[in-house]
Symmetry: C4
Subunit: 282 residues, 4 copies
């Protein structure tokens, strides 16, 4: 019993540092992780620029190893300090963490697997998690709620836009043909969406008068159509603002960043003693 | 009488399956139709890609026949099972259904009429009808109502934009001329709409300083002008939403009124399995 | 006296037909004018298309003369039937009417003055006047009111955008230079506005990494900035809708299309006996 | 004492003219400064156009000197007439004023430093200060307030867009590669932002089917995403308008353009006797 206790204490401490941000150590760890993720993404970016890679290849390679070693330690610590490691390993963030760590090791086994390093940019998503701590939390959650509330409407809308694009794209393919770049129906649909969304690259553009006429119609339709998602989101924002709840209101509870040591679920009540998800003691 | 009844019953059953969706068979038919329409459109798309058509021509051709035969049976069944067949045949969907069915047959009479297959993409519109069944109906009808209510205003607006485009297009034609691609007034108007709607292909772009100056003015006008349809639709959405009472107004944190059977604490998350207070199973 | 009366009666009748739309004849005249203006603009468009002009030059030329003769008669009738002809001749519409009529005559005196025909597109503005009659009037006036109410705010906004564009354009000129197409500061400012308004032709595009970085910042700024006019107009629309007056309300009077025979001012009350502008009997 | 008083009076008068706009002289000075700043920026623009510079080099050079001399006098007068000159010299506007004045002098010492003249465009920012006097002040401050109130939300939003762009840009780099112009991850991210913001230059555009497919997804995402800042700003504008205060309201005070002679802070109450910032007598 005596042997287990300190070990458990050590694991608990690691868990507190890595998974939570309520202690000073936990905050420092999050800041360090934040910086290292940014650096790791910048490294991948710089390596992709031929000129920079040619000149500073060695420096970049060393830094790459520093980041990889830190990520390896972090990954192992995450597995060790959690009660149900498999749940973490198979979770969304668990898989991303692994994929951000192994490419450099793999590159010694399979040549060219260094390209997988780019997957590391997905680790940026963890930044959203880290930022849960800062004051922007309220704003972000309001944005998220408004977007969630208008999700169904926007889905219906995008679906209608897609069907419209398929029909209009097919029409343009029949009218314009190969010369103007409308080489196939999929390409034609691609062009229609480029036009409807007012992106308008110009890599493909109608050259026949009929094609230009229909393109004009598509643009004017797009003009009215672009108003729809804006309208949906704006109204939703307005609603969020009207019924705004302040921390003093009934039914509003502060959820802290504490993570369950067993299942890593976050968002427990401040006065919670047990995890709401798995029932383990927090 | 005895003879007619079973026949009528058989017709009724077919009618129920094809035109309705309240019976299990009707639902399955709709799902099958949905899938076959998607496949038929994908087939037309794939055939238009030269590389794919060259390699898989035979497979695509067989699938094309499968779809065509199903569509033929469906078309005949629709005519047979309805009381007033002519009304269906001459209806919007009736004409589209026919046009989506016959191209392959026609291709044996008139060479090249296979191009008509592209018309099939119009059958996608039927998907909207099929989707009437699903839960998005509410959202879609709200969207439709808001757009209908703002139709008159948007028509006036588009009309004003068109007149403005003709005038500005003519001015640009006089200023820029052939060199920059403004080869005729219609082309010039096409360019003006491309600019006003902020699509901006760049296939035609002003090169003289005066032309660029006026283009700048057009863009700034377009900046203010693009706000108008958005404003119209947003206000309309807001109005639609005001009289709405729905469970869509999901709160901050989903705390329900469920009480823990062990400690009677309330305010659990909707997805809680265990009590946050005592750890008992809820 | 006997001589003057019928003349005055004749003049009055012509005035009623041309300037007003309450009599059947007046309505028919407006519709005819509407059609002829559209035709005259289409003629100018078609003439500008080289291929069409080469083939149908004679037909277009004859039609051009038909339109010009009608416009000449209309112009003379407008002068004759009004009490103060000079006021009409020097008014905005008077000048446009003249400029739309004379180019063909002038082309016999000055070679090449046929290009002035393009000015005719300005006559399209009269269509707005003609449309005063139709049911869209209410919608259009609401749009106009909302835009007028937000004019001051949008002016401030466009002014700020312009200053921002000058500063950012100058910065891009210093960074990018001639190679990428940023040949002068005005061109650079043109590019900045093309980018800020999200038009993005691509005729000029940054090629250095620093230029692309600043371009990215400009786009993200434009992202936030494009929201401003939309926000202004939307709020204004919302306000217009709230205080909407229906025909039954107090203080709402129906204004007819009757025009004062002396000063041609429109918009008199149904029960008006004297012109509100010059005091002449209606 | 007798000697100092008139000097102080002279300094005070200069201070009133340069820093304030309540006296007729002060107003005239502001108008003159406004015009000269516009001219100075136009001069820099015209010099950057090769054709114009070649022909009118001498005229532009003389005008350049006229502007520079006026700016020099103004700069010295600003320093002399203020009680704490160092505060002005090191202030934001103080540094810009200096940088707008010296390039021509520097060009005699360091060849090519004339390029610094472009910095002068920053002086346009002072126009915002001058315009404080005109009636647009109210509108501008309302715009500013709405933008300030939505700053936090827009920051969160732009941050999310940036992370999304890095991830999507990396994906496009892996898919498209060098051929289509996606030469490095930073370039790829640049392209993603160009697409997400619907600018769409077309200097880089996907050519593989997979790339075009993902580009389509990015555009549709951008479609929904562009609605967010608009929604935020619109709701904020709506709020500003609701609680609008009129000059008669309590708690609304008129702030004049008087500037503190000691610290140059503006925006004092009409009945203020001491500067609210440094406590000096006004």
């Amino acid at each position: 019993m005596k042997e287990r206790k300190p070990e458990k204490g050590w694991k608990n401490k690691v868990h507190e540092i890595i998974y939570e941000a309520d202690t000073p150590m936990g905050k420092w760890f999050d800041i360090l992780l934040f910086i290292l993720i940014i650096i790791s993404v910048l490294l991948v970016m710089l390596e992709s620029v031929k000129g920079i890679d040619a000149e500073y290849h060695k420096t970049l390679f060393i830094l790459e190893w520093v980041v990889t070693i830190f990520f390896t330690i972090e990954y192992i610590a995450r597995i060790v300090s959690i009660k149900k490691p498999l749940k973490y390993v198979l979770s969304f963030y668990g898989i991303i963490d692994l994929m951000a760590t192994i490419p450099l090791y793999l590159s010694y086994i399979f040549a060219g697997s260094q390209a997988l390093l780019a997957i590391r940019s997905l680790r940026l998503l963890r930044i959203f998690r880290i930022l849960k701590l800062v004051r922007f939390l309220g704003e972000a959650s309001q944005l998220k709620k408004a977007l969630k509330a208008s999700r169904a409407k926007i889905t219906v809308f995008l679906f209608a836009v897609l069907i419209l694009s398929v029909i209009l794209g097919t029409v343009m393919y029949l009218i314009e043909g190969d010369e103007a770049g409308f080489t196939s129906i999929p390409t034609s649909i691609y062009w229609t969406i480029v036009t409807l969304t007012t992106v308008g690259y110009g890599d493909i553009a109608p050259i026949t008068p009929e094609g230009q006429f229909i393109a004009t119609l598509i643009m004017l339709v797009g003009y009215g159509v672009i108003a729809v998602p804006t309208g949906i989101v704006t109204v939703e924002f307005g609603r969020q603002g009207q019924g705004k709840k302040s921390p003093g209101d009934k039914g509003y509870v502060h959820l802290n960043t504490q993570a369950c040591p067993a299942c890593a679920k976050e968002g427990h009540r401040d006065d919670a003693i047990y995890c709401y998800n798995c029932g383990s003691k927090l």
